[in-house]
Amino acid sequence: MSGLPDEITVREYRPGDEGSIVECFNRVFAAGNPSFVPRTLEAWRWEFERNPAGRRIALAVRGSGDVVAQFCALPARALFEGRGVTFHQAVDSMADPRHGRSLFPREGREKGRRPTSLFVRTAEFFVERWGLSGSDLFGYGFPIPIAHRIGREHLGYEVIRTQLLLWRPVEGATPGRSPSPPGAGVVLEEPDRLDARVDALWERCAGAFRASLVRDLPYLRWRYEENRSFRYRWAVVRAAGGEALLGLAAYRRGTFSDRDQGLLVEWLVPRAEPEAARALLGWAIRRAGEEGADRLAAVLPDSSPWFLFFQREGFLVERTKYVLVGRNYIGREDAGWFRKHWEYTLGDFDLA
């Protein structure tokens, strides 16, 4: 990278950087946030080192080894128009205010372009390395406003949608709605760990998806069961007398869009299984009530058939503070395409 001070290098993560990354993270995100809970090295190792889809970390590092800026993402295997690809979720973008926000002139081939910050240089390195190289097809995230602005101006972010939330009160009925009685003829279980039946469920659901993360056993175990920061509850549904799964959901109580609530973070149900869906919703409502939450919330794309199903089951729609952005690095499918065809849940983001 030209134009940077001699002692700063922009490069990929190397083993040994993690301590400085976590220190920088805790320094940057603690500022002005009295409720900030410092990240532990163990939580970082789960999120970045043990992710079965790999690592995507670009860093600006001083000669001393101190990390001063980071642009990184959580990759995930994805299904896109029937083929296996990789998506990544941009997370933990940061620049140490002591170094990362200074402007540096361009040199060499880039001379004449606007001076940019160390953060932008780090992000541009990331995009070249894992986006434009063909490594990952699609990047996405819920950026904070400043990251959104930088992403739009420098990184090709496009707005996929202004994100809405589905919610339902734990107690009482929702005015204007007449939900169906809980699912009949199905059996609901709450396992501590998922088993290989999940893969068959994923295969059954995947046929209806044009773009989605691959929700198979390795992914779900890493994302939820091995998570070092939060405890999630599973529910699975099978037909009475059968073993094959008809649906699964994950729940935890937490804060989303500045509100404490029960969160339905994962949802994998074939569209032809409304009884399984009703059983899982009933379970999540009960679980939220038992944990003292006053409502249950879910995030699903408004293009998903589940978006209307949930409303007919008593959920209301509400705005959130989040704007979902994305970039297709390789193909011609634009934000409008992803708005119509990309299936996701709250668990596809690091917010829950």
Partner: protein, 330 residues
């Protein structure tokens, strides 16, 4: 074609025929049944608007080959008077594309009409090609991806409250002024829905629009709320559309009375669904859901370009109230 062979300038009397001809070449070509824009409609929309005229044209010789235009509206913006402009009918003759004429027509338009003391925000629902050019070259940004509230069939959940009378009127007149004086202060940013605006927007519109205007009155005859209904192909081949809505947020009775009227109007006209658009930040977004409406996505995205940095997309998303009547979709 050299870009230097084109000139741009503001609208002048006498441009109407050239603009309408361009509109037909751009929007009607290859679309049998597309309704022709009449000069009467054009004059109502652009010249008779009490908030003013905002039309810029591009010419090759004497021929109008591009247009960038807006429909301005007076706005109450954090308690002060301002204007916003709804970008509509931006177009370039297919025979003159590829020379940045769209941008060359838009830029002087923005210079002339945009600014903290002129049109503070320009907005609209662009077609995809206008969005791509606007995002790349004209600083368009997305305020929100739009949803629609709909009820199918249009049966009300709550009965019309007794003691309120909903009357269909030909124009709103001073009763709208009284209502706006009460409701306006609830909004951080909203089109001034007084009689000057509403009676131009709906009562003076060409008859083909067939707007139905309704006032809800309390027992003493005082205005409690107003609504405008139209049957139109909006997101369904045939739908009842609630085009406008001005009700104090605390007056659920007036709201239920007007919703009962709109539902009855939809049933009378034989449409299978009643739809409305409210920003998800408006209390009416939740209220209509509690009255049985569901939320569905649309292909539209509300786009804005602020000319005062205070009113960026995040601010507009949280604070700006609008209805379908603030657009030219209905």
């Amino acid at each position: 074609m050299s870009a230097d062979t084109y000139a741009t300038r503001p609208y002048r009397p006498g441009d109407e025929a050239g603009i309408l001809s361009l509109f037909d070449r751009v929007f009607a070509a290859g679309r049998p049944g597309f309704p022709a824009r009449t000069e009467a409609e054009w004059r109502w929309r652009f010249l008779e608007n009490p908030a003013g005229t905002r039309v810029w044209v591009g010419l090759r010789g004497e021929e109008i080959v591009s247009q960038y235009a807006s429909i301005p509206v007076r706005v109450l913006l954090e308690g002060r008077s301002a204007t916003f402009g709804q970008i509509v009918d931006s177009m370039v003759d297919p025979a003159h594309r590829g020379g940045r004429l769209f941008v060359r027509t838009a830029e002087p338009f923005f210079d002339a009409f945009g600014g903290p003391d002129r049109d503070v925000v320009m907005y609209g629902y662009p077609v995809p090609i206008a969005w791509r050019i606007g995002a790349a070259l004209l600083r368009y940004e997305i305020v929100r991806t739009e949803t629609v509230l709909f009820r199918e069939p249009p049966e009300p959940v709550s009965p019309a409250p007794p003691g309120l009378l909903v009357e269909e009127v030909r124009r709103f007149g001073p009763e709208a002024d009284a209502l706006w004086a009460r409701v306006g202060p609830e909004f951080a940013a909203a089109t001034v829905r007084d009689s000057l605006h509403l009676d131009w927007r709906y009562a003076a519109a060409p008859p083909s629009f067939r707007y139905r205007l309704a006032l809800a009155r309390g027992g003493g005859g005082e205005p409690r709320g107003l609504a405008v209904f139209r049957r139109a192909p909006f997101l369904a081949a045939d739908a009842g559309v609630l085009c406008d809505w001005l009700v104090p947020s605390a007056d659920g009775e007036a709201a239920r009375a007007l919703l009962a009227w709109a539902s009855a109007r939809a049933r009378e006209e034989g449409v299978p669904v009643l739809g409305a658009v409210f920003p998800d930040s408006s209390p009416w977004f939740g209220w209509f859901q509690r009255e049985g409406f569901l939320v569905a996505p649309t292909d539209y995205y509300m786009v804005g370009r602020p000319f005062d940095a205070r009113y960026d997309m995040d601010w507009l998303r949280r604070r700006w109230f609008y209805t379908l009547g603030d657009t030219d979709l209905v």
